[in-house]
């Protein structure tokens, strides 16, 4: 523990991503916890079963997607309303590669990332001339165009019937249960989130932030706007593609409805609630937005016995509650959960002398 601030005496120390031993221990404990959580048993039964394990799996997948959109929107300042469709591109690519071409999952995932990155860069080309609102509208258009392609390009996407895709397998062993598939997703998520956290400390990441903060100044300082915006679209879409592919393999089934505009909105909501321009914020946001429907349904179940009319109303109002939470966060906590987390940490750092 440091009682009056962090002191760094070498450059090496200053450049470390995890600065204090305390943080390293916390992180190790947390990762260990994530590793053993699915196999923990209580009285011979798994602690996490069925739906709960599924939720954990979806949180991991959503974290990858949320980190992706945060790279683009939070760090580079390019608003994207097309994340849902990019997830879809990833899912369909992996589905095509694994189910129709018969290649392995380990080809499907990188292929999904690369194809989506390419698609993202194509739809990112307008970002050369457009910004802010105009870019948001352009990405909204890309969402609708891609969605339309998902439904109409039947030879690849299976049209409105969708495609069935298998779970991955290594050397004959198939990760068919959610429990085993969880470990694959966990590994991919850790690698990708660490990569993103590191990326933001490099020249590229700092260029992204410069573009976000003041793009004209950034250009004057020699940052090639077009290159970095396109790169940001590419990297962000790569994350979306991988997340989409993992999502598709988790459901074992891909249809176009899973990637509509509402998904894009949910992902934007994740990074707004979690915190724009923050890796940990993306993860908080993913946790929050995946847990929210579950909490709502648990809540309505609890009141449904006594107040059936309220419960019925709450079910039909589920999207409205989403919307309400987005509005409330924007008005009362515009910096998101990451900001709150920082304040809590700052409070405990010098506890009990936190004034």
């Amino acid at each position: 523990m440091h009682y009056c601030g962090d002191f760094r005496t070498t450059y090496r120390k200053d450049m470390e991503i995890f600065q204090t031993p305390f943080i390293k221990v916390c992180l190790a404990v947390f990762l260990g916890f994530l590793l053993v959580l699915p196999v923990l048993k209580l009285k011979g039964e798994y602690l996490l079963k069925g739906e709960y394990l599924w939720i954990l799996l979806q949180i991991l997948i959503a974290s990858i997607g949320a980190v992706g959109i945060n790279i683009l929107t939070g760090y580079t300042g390019q608003i994207s309303l097309g994340q849902g469709a990019f997830l879809g591109v990833g899912a369909y690519t992996s589905a095509y590669v694994t189910a129709k071409m018969g290649l392995s999952f380990w080809v499907g995932i990188p292929a999904a990332g690369l194809v989506t990155a390419l698609a993202g860069m194509v739809f990112g080309i307008p970002s050369l001339r457009l910004k802010g609102l105009y870019l948001a509208i352009a990405t909204l258009a890309s969402q609708f165009i891609l969605e339309w392609i998902f439904v109409r390009w039947e030879s690849v996407t299976g049209g409105s019937h969708g495609i069935t895709i298998p779970r991955p397998s290594i050397a004959g062993h198939t990760f068919s249960t959610d429990r085993s598939y969880y470990y694959i997703v966990l590994a991919v998520a850790i690698v990708m989130i660490l990569f993103a956290a590191n990326l933001m400390r490099t020249r590229t990441g700092r260029a992204f932030m410069a573009v976000r903060d003041h793009y004209i100044s950034a250009e004057i300082m020699g940052i090639n706007l077009f290159k970095y915006r396109l790169l940001s679209f590419g990297i962000s879409s790569f994350y979306a593609g991988v997340a989409g592919a993992l999502f598709g393999h988790s459901l074992k089934y891909v249809t176009s409805e899973q990637f509509n505009i509402e998904v894009s909105i949910v992902y934007l909501a994740m990074i707004i609630i979690g915190g724009l321009g923050s890796i940990i914020g993306s993860i908080f946001g993913a946790v929050f937005m995946i847990l929210l429907p579950k909490l709502l349904s648990v809540g309505t179940e609890m009141v449904s016995a006594d107040f059936p009319s309220i419960a019925r109303l709450a079910i039909s109002f589920e999207h409205g509650i989403f919307g309400l939470i987005i509005i409330l966060f924007l008005i009362f906590e515009p910096d998101g959960l990451a900001h709150r987390w920082k304040m809590v940490k700052a409070y405990w750092k010098l506890y009990p002398f936190s004034y």
Binding site: P126, A136, F144, V151, F317, G320, I331
Partner: protein
């Protein structure tokens, strides 16, 4: 493809386009005065259509009274929305403003679904006569003609309002420069509220027109999304642009749908065509036909 068919496509496109124009007008009014991009424009239309339905069909109010009550309701709703949701967002980055209107759209949409359900509801009694008239040798339902005329009237009224009325001039001044407007004695807050009120009323009337022709259901908010191609084509802050943009998009989507059906054997182009146009327009002429070009100083 016969000339008859082509003409039919153009005319039905024009009718649907006139509704787009009305909604786009509402969008532009808000954007012009407050620089808020309203993603909930379609929901304002939907709320108007449903509220009018409630008065007209569920409470058996005569049509003129139902329309007045709908307008009144739209005004109150808009004032609440502006005061409670948009006012705290002044000065926030654009992504927050976009997200807050998206949040608003989700809330309004599910409120409507919770109250009225999702099935198609039909206005009874019909406002417009159902007979057919012949225009240029084409049989056209009279209600389409009425709808088109009413949208044109709406557009004309608001163009005149902006050009000549005191409030209209104040709104244009605010759009031009908020600080200067305020120092000239214009209450910018009131202008913001006023622009939301006008926008909600215009969209609400659009909703009532649609309800009369097609009936209403929970997917009515799609009209709000068509606003983007229309306003981008016309220029985001131009009333005339909104009017023309809406009609052009209406015609273009019908024509491209007709062409693809006839020659390429491709159906469902209607849903995607406006967005393809949108991307093309953004690439070629991002500020649209009549929009003001942003000039940035460092």
């Amino acid at each position: 493809m016969t000339f008859q068919y082509l003409l039919q496509l153009v005319i039905s496109g024009l009718v649907i386009g006139s509704i787009y124009s009305a909604v786009a007008l509402g969008f532009v009014i808000i954007y012009k005065a407050t620089r808020v991009v309203n993603f909930a424009q379609g929901e304002l239309l939907m709320v108007g259509a449903y509220v009018c339905y409630a008065f007209l069909v569920q409470m058996h109010v005569p049509f003129w009274a139902a329309l007045l009550l709908t307008i009144l309701f739209g005004m109150v709703l808009a004032m609440f929305v502006e005061r409670l949701i948009l006012r705290p967002m002044i000065g926030e980055p654009i992504i927050s403003i976009i997200m807050v209107t998206i949040g608003l759209s989700l809330v309004l949409r599910s409120l409507v679904a919770a109250i009225w359900g999702t099935e198609i509801l039909v206005y009874e009694p019909k406002l417009f006569p159902q007979e057919m008239v012949e225009i240029a040798g084409l049989p056209i339902s009279l209600e389409f003609v009425w709808c088109f005329i009413l949208s044109l009237v709406l557009l004309a009224v608001f163009s005149v309002f902006f050009k000549y009325s005191k409030a209209g001039v104040a709104m244009r001044a605010t759009a031009f420069n908020q600080q200067v407007a305020q120092s000239m004695g214009i209450s910018v807050k009131h202008i913001f509220a006023l622009s939301w009120v006008i926008s909600a009323v215009v969209s609400g009337i659009g909703g009532v027109l649609i309800g009369n022709i097609n009936g209403i259901n929970s997917s009515l908010y799609h009209f709000g999304l068509k606003v983007f191609p229309a306003t981008i084509l016309g220029g985001l802050d131009s009333i005339l642009g909104a009017a023309l943009g809406g009609m052009i998009i209406g015609i273009l989507e019908n024509l491209s749908d007709g062409f693809c059906k006839t020659y390429l054997n491709l159906s469902g182009v209607k849903e995607v065509a406006p967005y393809v146009f949108l991307v093309i327009i953004l690439m070629i002429k991002p500020y649209g036909l009549f929009g003001t070009k942003d000039i940035e100083r460092v």
